[in-house]
């Protein structure tokens, strides 16, 4: 039942995306790009050619509201759920998602093309390499020693990330360190993204190390 609902939700999303794409194509080709190019809505007068964009817009809005409702429902349901006893089951191969961090390099291109720096934030995705280690600790009973190790790992990772951010702030905060304030700020965004990625990765790596290395020494009775 749950799988069927997920499939329907994904299917509805694909339909909405296709309809929006088709309506955008129609308005670009036959309707002077109305609703795509900026327009003065106070002087708006209806045309029948506007209908595809209006209908697809309403459908897209309804879909987004539906997703928001699902999200809220999931949050509310999670509040009443008993806390999990075991870690979640994750395939270590999800760690390859960390390669998305390479998308951060797109920032150099977008900055030179139209001064956009948002893609630099994608460096945070390097943190997903932590899934390699989280996956290896899948379905582990979270007893008090595990929780203690987890806190220790999070603390060490946060300390490392905060130290990097502090040092970066100290050095880059001098201002025109690289001769250009804009480059300085870009470097700052990159360093903060990488520091957050390091925090995400280190939390999982250290937890695995604390937990796993101990087990290597252990033997039954």
């Amino acid at each position: 039942m749950k799988n069927r609902k997920t499939k329907i939700t994904i299917f509805a999303g694909i339909i909405c995306a296709l309809l929006t794409g088709a309506a955008s194509w129609y308005t670009i080709v036959f309707n002077e790009s109305r609703f795509i190019l900026p327009m003065n809505l106070s002087a708006y007068s209806f045309r029948t050619q506007d209908l595809p964009m209006i209908i697809s817009g309403i459908l897209l809005m309804m879909y987004i509201l539906y997703l928001a409702a699902l999200f809220l429902k999931a949050i509310l349901a999670g509040r009443h759920r008993k806390p999990a006893q075991n870690t979640r089951t994750i395939n270590p191969k999800w760690g390859f998602l960390g390669l998305f961090g390479l998308a951060g390099f797109l920032g150099f291109w977008t900055y030179s093309a139209d001064k956009m720096i948002f893609p630099f934030i994608a460096f945070i995705f390097f943190g997903f390499f932590g899934f390699f280690y989280e996956g290896r600790l899948s379905n582990t009973l979270m007893d008090e020693r595990y929780r203690e190790n987890k806190m220790k790992a999070h603390l060490s990772a946060s300390r490392a990330a905060l130290t990097i951010i502090f040092l970066a702030t100290l050095f880059l905060g001098q201002g025109r360190l690289m001769g250009n304030l804009e480059y300085t700020l870009i470097a700052y965004v990159i360093i903060i993204s990488l520091a957050l990625a390091l925090k995400i990765f280190l939390s999982e790596f250290l937890l695995y190390r604390y937990d796993h290395d101990e087990q290597l020494e252990e033997s039954e009775d």
């Binding site: 009973l141 007893d143 008090e144 020693r145 595990y146 937990d211 101990e214 252990e218 039954e220 009775d221």
Partner: protein
């Protein structure tokens, strides 16, 4: 490293319990029991009490702090 002596192994064997069985009884992993027996992990008061009840021995005889 915690600085104490742990006699859990002795009391566990007296009760004829395996590490796995004791771990299941007190709700921890077998590795945690191993660490405890080697006195390499300092348990919470709750875990110490649970263990003492499981092996039916006083806490102060299982965990000896100098």
């Amino acid at each position: 490293m915690p600085d104490f002596e742990c006699r859990l192994k002795k009391y566990r064997q007296l009760k004829d319990l395996t590490q796995e069985q004791l771990a299941a009884q007190v709700g921890v992993r077998r590795e945690t029991i191993m660490r405890l027996e080697k006195a390499q992990y300092n348990p919470s008061l709750k875990l110490a009490v649970d263990i003492s009840r499981a092996v039916k021995a006083p806490i102060e005889e299982i965990f000896i702090f100098e």
